[in-house]
Amino acid sequence: MIEITAAKVLEEAQRKSKALFDELASSASTMGWNVHRTVFPDQAAGILLDICQSANISTALYSNHPVFCRVPAIATLVSNGIVASLAETAGDRSRAELKAAEFSSDLGITGVEWAIAETGTIVLHARNGVPRLVSVAPERHIALVELGQVLSSLEDLFLIERLEHMSGRLSTSVNLVSGPSKTGDIGGKIVEGIHGPLEVHMILIG
């Protein structure tokens, strides 16, 4: 039963992908994301570079999301003098070293599992190759969202997460991110940039 409903949700995400992209662009913007949009993966790499150069980024970490196979983001950054490395503990980098890198990098770049049009949200699942801290420790975070990854509502997302659980695949850390970090604790005035990233960008591709 749940498989049937989930199949419908996924089918709708494909069928209405353009409209959902429009809706996401609008809701994300309201929530404080800087939203960029392009049809071409190469242009996405160019947008990424522009953002980095405007913000004087010198070091970046990125996750092992499939989007980086289609978007030549990392090659573009590296050839323009930005030190961009994969956020993982393989090879000679220990967990302690990765954590230090996560806390000292200027920027974290990730793909997403899903996005949610209702609330201007991206969904990240921690797993091998996608560490928790890469999207929250650096001052800036850029999320690459591809056409077809956008779900309509929170109900759709949690239906899929339930299915993940029933298949034994629920991630140990599921994160819904809906804008920059903020607080209203000083005088009731909303200020962006406390603890989590102070600036977040969403690049919609497709």
Binding site: R132, F158, L159, S173, L176, G184, I186
Partner: protein
């Protein structure tokens, strides 16, 4: 936390005279409550969602043992540890023992109201473990040595100047700027190294999902995410009523919680944690502990009149809508939970007699019931507590009404249920009060009624009461009608 419910009137008087706190409380109203009202209008099927939320909570609380058992089983099969704590002391002892055993030297804390009940930070400090609050509002009041005055914005009673001083003392030099932006930046810089180095992260729990053994942490600041990702041990502390059945219920609950709490469609971060990290993950905690705390909640559960207070999802909407809270502020309530929900649960959790002022700190306007995302009927429960205090139906020692009060109420009941007595009492009353009245108004009544006229005048009973006027008019009508009949015949 040691309750100070008996100081309600004193603290309330002081708060009423403090312009800084009054400004903060106005901000609570204009930011959170107005925001919530906007969401109530803008969100499709808002009423239905609240009804469903209430129904899910009612079902869960009615089967709490079943869902808590499911939750514990799933946390453990995910590789986590579960501890059921009967009271604050048990919870503290478990955590201190475990922290010492794991050689924990520093702890970072995200917001957890249950940990305030426990006084956990103090227990850890006594054991030599440095504990830092990371939620900006909680950090500020930790520096000030105070307790939170609001569920969502704990430092709302502090001015920018006061905050600048607190942060400046901590930094060792005063910040030149007092703007919220610069102070926020300063706090970020102060707290960041602790996120990187702490051995243990402690969070609260907004929702615990029984089906999956997950805990859900909702923040805007990101301290919840950093606290569950960076340290090697993650401890989540929850009141036992925070469990919900299924991960699919989260869509509804996140929507009604966040929109009711701050008026945002969603918070910046919602983090669902299911167990410690897997062995092939690159970061995350090695250990996960869930502490499920009772601390008096079984008393609420066992009480059919007050059980629905356990549906509370701690959004703070009732505080934000309450005209009394908005004047007397959170500290007056003397415990962890202020405002309307605090007025209901605090007397049961910490003592009815000591908390006797709390159920009376209400105009019963019902704004809280309107604002509650799970439609808890707070006014009904406040009335119920008042009657327990008046007639001592729970225990004899709880009865606070004096003999004079009971005599007066008996006389009142007699007068109100007997028409002749009522009319006679009105005539006598007018006769007695005429000497102290001026132009039909009484400026000052005699005790024990003098409180009534402190800020208003009392009207003198009329020479001809309305019921008499009515009868006279009826007679006139009757005469008119008979005239009319004679003329038309």
């Amino acid at each position: 936390m040691k309750p100070r419910t008996a100081e309600f009137k004193k603290t309330a008087s002081r708060t009423l005279r403090d312009p800084q706190i009054q400004r903060g409380l106005e901000a609570v109203y204009s930011n959170f409550h107005v925001g919530r009202q906007r969401q109530a209008v803008a969100t499709p099927n808002w009423e239905d969602q609240q009804d469903r939320g209430r129904a899910i909570k009612a079902h869960t609380i009615a089967n709490l043992d079943h869902y808590l058992a499911m939750l514990a089983d799933n946390v453990e099969s995910n590789g986590g540890h579960v501890f059921f704590a009967t009271d604050a002391e048990e919870a503290n002892r478990y955590l201190v023992d475990m922290a010492l055993d794991r050689r924990v030297e520093s702890v970072i804390k995200s917001k957890s109201m249950v940990s305030e009940e426990m006084g956990l930070a103090r227990e850890f400090e006594s054991a030599g473990i440095k504990t830092l609050e990371t939620d900006l509002g909680e950090y500020i009041i930790q520096l000030a040595g105070e307790t939170p005055s609001h569920l969502i914005a704990p430092a709302i009673h502090k001015s920018s100047d006061q905050i600048a001083t607190l942060l400046g003392v901590e930094a060792g030099e005063m910040s030149k700027s007092k703007s919220p932006e610069d102070l926020t930046r300063l706090a970020r810089t102060q707290l960041r190294p602790h996120f990187e180095r702490a051995d243990m992260g402690i969070t609260g729990v907004n929702f615990a999902v029984a089906e999956t053994g997950s805990v859900v942490i909702v923040t805007n600041e990101g301290n919840g995410r950093l606290g569950t990702a960076s340290p090697r041990i993650h401890v989540a502390i929850m009141g036992m009523e925070k469990v919900i059945p299924s991960v699919q219920d989260l869509a509804l609950f996140l929507r009604i919680l966040i929109r009711s709490a701050t008026g945002q469609p969603i918070s910046s971060y919602v983090n669902m944690v299911t167990g410690p990290r897997r062995s092939d993950e690159d970061d995350g905690p090695e250990e996960f502990h869930l502490v499920i705390v009772d601390n008096g909640r079984t008393r609420l559960l066992a009480d059919p009149e007050l059980r629905e207070s356990l549906y509370c999802i701690r959004c703070g909407a009732c505080l934000n809508s309450c005209p009394v809270y908005r004047k007397v502020g959170g500290h007056s309530y003397g415990y962890v939970y202020p405002g309307p929900i605090g007025a209901v649960i605090t007397p049961i959790l910490t003592g009815l007699r000591e908390g006797k002022d709390l159920p009376f700190a209400s105009t019963l306007c019902g704004a809280c019931r309107e604002a509650c995302p799970v439609k808890i009927d707070i006014p009904r429960m406040l009335l119920n507590l008042r009657s327990r205090l008046a007639d001592g139906s729970t225990t004899g020692t709880d009865r606070i009404s004096g003999r004079l009060e009971r005599i007066l109420w008996t006389l009142w009941r007699l007068g109100m249920t007997n028409l002749r007595l009522y009319r006679m009492a009105s005539k006598i009353g007018r006769y007695l009060l005429l000497p102290v009245s001026r132009r039909g108004w009484i400026r000052r009544m005699v005790p024990p009624f003098s409180g009534w006229t402190l800020s208003r005048d009392f009207p003198l009973p009329a020479r001809r009461p309305f019921s008499q006027l009515r009868r006279d008019l009826d007679e006139l009508d009757h005469e008119d009608n008979s005239c009319h009949d004679r003329v038309t015949r």
